[in-house]
């Protein structure tokens, strides 16, 4: 008798606790926090839903957005900038990002939370996106370089770039054109390439860029051209 009473009590407790789990219908809002949004254009999407993220009045603050429809237990989500995909040629379409920016998932603990999953896996669906200003390459070529020791710099912005002359199979300098890569420049900032150290027995001058002398601004035109690619460093022999 005592035994069966205990069983009955257990069954009752179990039933009550199940009921308390079910109570109402649990749904899961998809919460996204986005920081460093400086320009409009970001649209996040998951499963046909979209939410636009506008830059905040105070650019140092982050933006919290919630997708319009909450998920039910077991529904999956995968939040990306709308249209993000890998193209057939292997390149990446980053989707609907803010103008001049690209947003990606935070990599910093404890904000490096998954952007995809199944509702109910975690108590709350929350993720953190961080947007960064796009940077574009600063490239061109060097002509006539035969001396060793040429070092170029883009001001104090990045490490200086050392360039060695092209050589033939015997190791003699040929003076052939050399591709120049100065590192990337963020949208909206300036660049100014100078000769930090002249090569042995030669003098090099910098041309190209927006002002024709190796300097300019990574502006809309440069962004549309996917960077500056017309730097021209010309090296001539010093009079002997």
């Amino acid at each position: 008798m005592k035994f069966s009473f205990a069983r009955g009590a257990l069954a009752l407790i179990a039933a009550l606790s199940l009921a308390s789990c079910g109570g109402g219908k649990a749904t899961f809002p998809i919460n996204v926090n986005v920081s460093n949004v400086l320009y409009p254009g970001l649209i996040l999407s998951t499963g046909g839903q979209e939410v636009a993220v506008a830059p905040p009045a105070d650019p140092t603050k982050s933006v919290d957005v919630v997708f319009p429809q909450e998920l039910e237990y077991g529904q999956t989500y995968d939040v990306v900038p709308k249209g993000q995909a890998v193209n057939s040629d292997g390149s990446i379409n980053y989707g609907a990002n803010p103008k001049h920016q690209t947003c990606s998932v935070s990599t910093i603990y404890p904000y490096n939370l998954p952007t995809s999953g199944t509702a109910g896996q975690l108590a709350k669906i929350q993720m953190y996106y961080v947007c960064a200003i796009n940077a574009y390459p600063l490239t061109g070529k060097i002509v006539g370089l035969t001396g060793k020791g040429l070092v170029l710099a883009n001001g104090s912005t990045a490490s200086a770039v050392s360039v060695t002359p092209a050589t033939d199979t015997a190791g003699a300098a040929t003076g052939a054109d050399i591709a120049l890569t100065m590192g990337s420049v963020a949208y909206g900032t300036t660049y100014g390439v100078t000769v930090l150290t002249q090569p042995e027995k030669q003098t090099c001058t910098v041309a190209g860029g927006a002002n024709g002398k190796g300097a300019g601004t990574m502006d809309d035109a440069a962004e549309a051209a996917k960077g500056v690619n017309d730097l021209l460093v010309t090296c001539v022999n010093n009079p002997s």
Binding site: V151, S156, T194, V195, L196, Q198, G214
Partner: protein, 198 residues
């Protein structure tokens, strides 16, 4: 009888185990990561006031020669710094050694910066813009000097004209390479780079 043999055996095993852990040669390598700022030789770290460890330029990690034992106290301090840094900081450098605590050690140094101030000669009109990489400065008419952003010691600088002023043409000279660019030394660079307008 049997149980007393077992006890003795256990005691022996314990003694051996302790012996293996003790001495100067422990079971844990005392290592750490270097996140930034070590661009020159001269950094020396110490553990518990000894075991000097010289760290070469551009190292990204360090490991003391002497190993430590689990539960030993370690205390890593900077004995000397590279000449181009203002300070070095160690995180989690002092604790009792175990697999967790020795995996948490990191350090970085802060490289000194120095002022870069450009002398301006002959500028009478407005519109001059000079840049040092991404550092952009608009120079007002009749200015005789223009401060740029600070530059890291041993780091490059290169001042160039982005936009010429109205009706004048300016050129840049000076700096350690003579054309307005160079490598920052160990003191402020005042009036060494010169913009001359005519």
């Amino acid at each position: 009888m049997k149980s007393s043999i077992l006890r003795a055996g256990v005691a022996l095993a314990c003694a051996l185990g302790l012996a293996a852990c003790g001495g100067g040669d422990g079971d844990l390598y005392l290592t750490g990561s270097i996140t930034q700022g070590v661009t020159k030789d001269g950094l020396v770290l110490q553990n518990n006031g000894g075991d000097d460890l010289a760290i070469p330029a551009n190292a990204t990690s360090f490991q003391f020669a002497n190993r430590v034992s689990t539960d030993d106290q370690f205390d890593i301090k900077v004995k000397s710094m590279p000449s181009n840094v203002s300070n070095c900081y160690i995180s989690n450098g002092s604790a009792r050694a175990n697999y967790y605590t020795i995996a948490q050690i990191s350090m970085y140094c802060v490289i000194k910066t120095h002022k870069l101030s450009v002398k301006v000669n002959g500028l009478t009109t407005s519109g001059l813009v000079i840049v040092n990489g991404t550092d952009r400065k608009e120079v007002p008419a009749n200015a005789t000097t223009q401060a740029m952003a600070d530059v890291y010691e041993d780091g490059p600088y290169g001042v160039t004209i982005l936009t010429q002023p109205t009706g004048q043409t300016c050129t840049v000279s000076g700096g350690s390479s003579g054309n307005g660019s160079g490598t920052m030394g160990s003191t402020d660079l005042i009036d060494n780079v010169v913009v001359t307008c005519a």
